[in-house]
């Protein structure tokens, strides 16, 4: 499948600002997210992975710089218009325990339905299709509270699929999942990118799975708070970043070293 740029940023500065305070998380990001690929965003705790994801989907204002979504500046999207371009899966706690999986997935149709949110036949078809794609269709009438962590994650991915956005951003979708569910979730996302041409960006701490199943890696360095400077984000395919030593430099500490042969982190002897 031919890949095109789904999200690009130009001199994007991300962080938080409030009355009399400003915290830069990264001063300058020039990124390209492509369709048809799974991109894994890696970085230590506090590097600002969530901040970046929330900025890219417009939940958090950029400090300065530009974001282009499908070629159009983020600021140029009307309220609600973005909902059919970028879908998100977040780590936020929700109150959805009391609704059925079907109802949860149907919330993804929000931008497509009318004033009263009545579901038409095409909406029902999109919901069923989304549930089947992630393999949660057999649990459609269960309450969300009855699902395991892995199933719940699948249900939220189904919700974002029902939203029918070309771009999907996921904040740590594999955290709290067991090994099998982690791989299954990644395989699902990979299928969506490769077969349906979606641009998928997910943050994760799971280097193993990312190296195995992601098409691209983004290595987000931490920013020094006083000087408001940071190394540029390192982007590339897993094999390139292994060969040029970028991964080894990014992850190695006094105690841990990256083993390029076995593609994993090991303790220094």
């Amino acid at each position: 499948m031919k890949c095109s740029v789904a999200i690009s940023t130009h001199q994007l500065c991300i962080g938080y600002t409030g009355r009399g305070f400003r915290r830069v998380v990264h001063p300058e990001l020039n990124l390209q997210l492509y369709t048809g690929e799974v991109t894994a965003l890696l970085g230590s705790n506090g590097a600002g992975k969530s901040t970046l994801l929330k900025t890219l989907c417009g939940l958090l204002p950029a400090l300065h710089g530009d974001i282009f979504i499908d070629g159009k500046p983020l600021a140029g999207y009307r309220h609600g218009e973005l909902a059919t371009h970028v879908g998100v899966v977040l780590t936020e706690r929700t109150q959805t325990g009391g609704i059925s999986v079907y109802d949860l997935v149907s919330l993804g149709r929000y931008p497509h339905t009318g004033f009263f949110g009545t579901l038409r036949e095409e909406d029902h078809a999109a919901i069923r299709n989304a549930m089947e794609t992630v393999g949660i269709a057999d649990k459609a009438q269960r309450h969300v509270s009855e699902l395991s962590d892995g199933e719940r994650q699948k249900a939220f991915i189904a919700k974002v699929l029902a939203q029918e956005c070309p771009i999907i951003l996921l904040d740590e979708p594999t955290a709290f999942l067991d090994v099998t569910s982690r791989l299954e979730t990644m395989i699902t996302l990979r299928r969506l990118a490769h077969q349906e041409g979606k641009a998928v960006l997910l943050s994760t701490h799971d280097l193993d799975t990312a190296l195995q199943l992601a098409d691209k890696l983004w290595l987000q360095p931490a920013c020094s708070a006083e000087k408001e400077t940071a190394d540029p984000m390192v982007c590339g395919t897993p094999s390139t970043l292994i060969e040029n030593g970028a991964l080894a430099r990014f992850f190695s500490t006094d105690a841990v070293i990256f083993d390029p042969v076995n593609r994993r982190l090991v303790a220094r002897k």
């Binding site: 973005l82 977040l90 706690r93 919330l107 509270s145």
Partner: protein
């Protein structure tokens, strides 16, 4: 949830609504047979004039008031519980009913005015002042939890002023104020009923228009924004809608506890779903039924003694809340 179960729930609640409505007209200190009640309501009645007077001037307005007040308070509680992601939120928690109390306390104790109309106007002003304060803060404070806490604090401030007023007031005025504070569905006369009906039906209608954003808010504010909900506007509309409903009901009936807090739980347990598409209508129906039941229960059987409403609503509401809290691990919407 099957369609069949839904049909049973709606049918059952509608039946209960009709039964409790006529129950409220038949039952009271004086027992009036249903046959006579129906004749008084629907065609010329040539029986006892006193009965006609009791049904039309006292029981009919009281029952309609209970129906509307119950539905209004219950739906307000539901919307606030969803908005604040807090199953223990209710119309009294944002300080709006405390505002109404303060308005009435000022009118009764400080200004010495005690007419029915001034009480209502004072309650409305008090409630709307607090509502405006909350709305003002809602523009500044982005977190709903913080807004909730501000509402509780504003309520405490209002209570504090009421204590000061009471402390300096004469005993009979304090008594008058305390009586108002016990809540009463019977205070609304037939001529005042259109005012209460107009406001509460308008508020209930607005709540029906908020079903779609309320469902999106179950996901939290970030998800809702991503789905295209204008979260600030939705929050403003929900606050105005619940504020008006609470203010009007409190102004006409006095502060009524537990209906707004407990009925949404009854509705969720009955439905087994938090999807507002059915939860909101079921909450409206259940609220109306439970308030009419409370209204009937204020008349002690046999003696004809009338108890204050504030003695009845907790008897129905508190066990519901205790049940929900104790069983929260097994209740889907808590997990």
């Amino acid at each position: 949830m099957t369609r069949q179960k839904l049909r049973w729930i709606y049918a059952g609640l509608s039946l209960a609504l009709v039964a409790l409505f006529f129950g409220g007209l038949v039952y009271g200190a004086v027992r009036i047979p249903l046959k006579d009640v129906l004749q008084i309501l629907f065609r010329s009645y040539e029986g006892k004039e006193a009965w006609q007077h009791i049904v039309l001037e006292s029981r009919l307005p009281q029952t309609v008031t209970a129906l509307l007040a119950g539905a209004s308070l219950a739906v307000s509680g539901l919307m606030l519980q969803t908005l604040f992601k807090n199953p223990l939120a209710g119309p009294s928690i944002l300080g709006i009913s405390d505002g109404a109390n303060l308005g009435v306390a000022i009118a009764m104790i400080y200004l010495g005015a005690a007419s029915y109309l001034t009480t209502i106007v004072a309650a409305l002003i008090g409630a709307f002042v607090v509502l405006l304060i909350i709305l003002g803060f809602s523009r500044k404070v982005s977190s709903n939890v913080m807004l909730l806490i501000i509402g509780i604090m504003v309520g405490y401030l209002a209570s504090s002023v009421i204590s000061i007023l009471n402390y300096h007031a004469s005993a009979d005025k304090v008594h008058q104020y305390v009586m108002w504070g016990m809540g009463d569905f019977s205070g609304v006369s037939l001529s005042k009923l259109p005012w209460l009906s107009g406001f509460s039906l308008a508020g209930i209608f607005c709540s029906l228009l908020l079903i779609k954003p309320l469902n999106a808010l179950l996901l939290g504010e970030s998800y809702a924004t991503n789905l295209g909900v204008n979260v600030r506007r939705a929050r403003l509309l929900i606050l105005i809608c619940t504020g008006v409903l609470t203010a009007v009901v409190t102004a006409f009936c006095g502060p009524i506890s537990f209906i707004g807090l407990a009925v949404p739980h009854v509705a969720r347990l009955l439905l087994g779903s938090s999807n507002h598409k059915h939860l909101l209508p079921v909450t409206l129906l259940a609220g109306a039924c439970i308030a009419m039941l409370c209204s009937i229960l204020t008349v002690l059987p046999g003696s004809g003694t009338v108890l204050p409403l504030s003695a009845i609503t907790p008897i129905i509401g508190a066990p519901v809340i205790i049940y929900v809290i104790v069983n929260r691990k097994n209740i889907h919407y808590f997990n």
